[in-house]
């Protein structure tokens, strides 16, 4: 199990009810972690609508997760 930190923003933050959490996971990639969290928390957004950031930088969904990584799942943006 790896320990990772997850930050939530916007719709995901509201659906989770908090801005972030630390958790232990067996997920090997951000893709697997999102599937796990979506099942647990009922997030409505499918992964195809999101981007993922690892350690404050955009990342691919299939990069290996490492112990201590900080992740953020990024809903469709809407600035301007």
């Amino acid at each position: 199990m790896k320990k990772v930190r997850v930050q939530y923003f916007a719709l995901l933050r509201e659906q989770r009810g908090q801005t972030g959490e630390s958790l232990a996971t067996a997920a090997g990639t951000p893709s697997e972690l999102y599937a796990e969290l979506r099942a647990r928390h009922g997030f409505t957004l499918p992964a195809e609508r999101l981007r993922v950031a690892v350690n404050d930088e955009f990342a691919a969904w299939d990069v290996p997760l490492r112990d201590g990584d900080a992740l953020a799942f990024i809903p469709p943006v809407a600035g301007g």
């Binding site: 930050q7 923003f9 916007a10 719709l11 933050r13 509201e14 409505t44 957004l45 499918p46 609508r49 950031a53 404050d56 930088e57 955009f58 953020a72 990024i74 809903p75 469709p76 943006v77 809407a78 600035g79 301007g80």
Partner: protein, 150 residues
């Protein structure tokens, strides 16, 4: 240069940040909060940012504009927090020797920022409903269905 601001944007003060003796053109873009969207009265907007990454990605957008167009200076500032109708949500200003580059760079920066910088907008409507823009999911459409109640 790109930054986020939790306090109201002062366009005149921002414009004073840009000065260059070779500048023959200044162009700016101001994104303002509309009092309506899709036929609904908007009473308040909320902008939320993933600050660490928004500042990096915003800086990349501005740097790209400086590579693509012959600019002397460029600045983009995006609001966070709660905004009322009429308030400035984003301010972009560029200086160039000539006007074409200044106009084109403003357009480039706002178009790219809107699609890439991790900032989210929640509209609050007169009836009490609210909606995260662009986050509609299956069975909903941001353009045709009524806002979901939160």
């Amino acid at each position: 240069m790109f930054r986020l601001s939790a306090i109201p944007l002062d366009a005149a003060a921002l414009r004073r940040e840009l000065a260059h003796p070779q500048a023959g053109a200044f162009a700016s873009f101001e994104g303002r909060v509309r009092d309506h969207n899709d036929g609904q009265a908007v009473v308040m907007l909320e902008y939320e940012a993933f600050a660490a990454l928004a500042e990096k990605e915003g800086a990349r957008v501005v740097a790209e504009a400086r590579e693509k167009f012959p600019l002397l200076q460029a600045l983009c500032v995006h609001r966070t927090g709660r905004l009322q109708a009429g308030e400035l949500a984003v301010w972009i200003g560029v200086l160039a020797a000539h006007r074409a580059a200044a106009f084109d760079a403003c357009r480039y920066i706002i178009d790219e920022a809107k699609t890439r910088v991790p900032v989210w907008k929640k509209e609050h409507y007169a009836g009490g409903a609210s909606l995260w823009i662009n986050a509609a999911t299956r069975g909903e459409s941001a353009s045709s269905s009524p806002p979901e109640l939160h």
